[in-house]
Symmetry: C3
Subunit: 141 residues, 3 copies
Amino acid sequence: MMAAFIIANGAASMGSEVTLFFTFWGLNLLRKHQAVSVKKSLVEKMFGMMMPRGPAKTVLSKMHMGGMGTTMMRWVMKKKNVLSLDTLMAEARKNKIRFVACTMSMDIMGIKKEELIEGIEFGGVAYYLNEADGAGYNLFI
Amino acid sequence: MMAAFIIANGAASMGSEVTLFFTFWGLNLLRKHQAVSVKKSLVEKMFGMMMPRGPAKTVLSKMHMGGMGTTMMRWVMKKKNVLSLDTLMAEARKNKIRFVACTMSMDIMGIKKEELIEGIEFGGVAYYLNEADGAGYNLFI
Amino acid sequence: MMAAFIIANGAASMGSEVTLFFTFWGLNLLRKHQAVSVKKSLVEKMFGMMMPRGPAKTVLSKMHMGGMGTTMMRWVMKKKNVLSLDTLMAEARKNKIRFVACTMSMDIMGIKKEELIEGIEFGGVAYYLNEADGAGYNLFI
């Protein structure tokens, strides 16, 4: 996710139009920090509890090692004043990068619109394909 | 894998020609459900036993958590009538999407043609690069 | 990483110009086998010890299983004379593929230029985006 935001912010600041399309686990990044009360089935509730809500709860997965990797990396990034996922997201919004939540993934994972942050758009696979068709390039991260 | 099939089916139904090139672990998706008796070395046999055969045995990896994630996700997808990997594959074939097995990966992993499902093609990296060169776009998933 | 090198070498031998841009954990592949004495903070040292140095120490991650997967796969590749990561890298260099280390990742992970192999270039996200803009295609692996 960090790579996605760093590339997106770089491209935006170099004058490109950028759209980020969030599918599956990527959706978790768009969840509000607070739990939102919506009607859900039991399994949807379990899913909701098992998954991280927003960037602060997201683990830096490949170096996770029982939490130590994430903590270390956040610590290093802070020390070095490199941008955290939170600030990368904020920067992306300032850069007018469009955030699109994949509606099929929302449906599968039982995530409702009210649970996601404000100011985002919603689209399915056809939306994504149309964007990709018109784009200079297109990465799957 | 689900993302790959969803994007591929979407593109095909919007009129694009789609080729899916299966390398390394992706090959497991093309294996027949039943074990096929072929001549193999001991290590090739071990590899064969350790790896899943076909979509029904494939775990939904990032939410695996000792099997619970996979079961939950299959259950949710069923409840919601969202397509499973099995049906996504069937739909892809109906959409005339070409399935190409990477011959170098087959060689490394000791997978023989007889072990893979019918109606697929075989090609190496040169094949993939030629396809990618002619393509509108090209994702590595 | 193997997939990246196999595709890159294939493209180079078919006459394309290829640049490999190494970010985050990909940087480990460019580390010298020997520890290099450089000034580091405690956390940078810990990071350095936790991460593999160079291709020989890199695990074949998705089939790792406590080391068995990696050993098996190396063994099979050797038996079959398929190229190892070491030789894939050597071939890439012979093919004049450019290796570029991501300077932002180096900064985050506390990796110094002296710790990386000779003959590589250094660049940030703007460098990557410029390369990608001019490229026929561009994969994120």
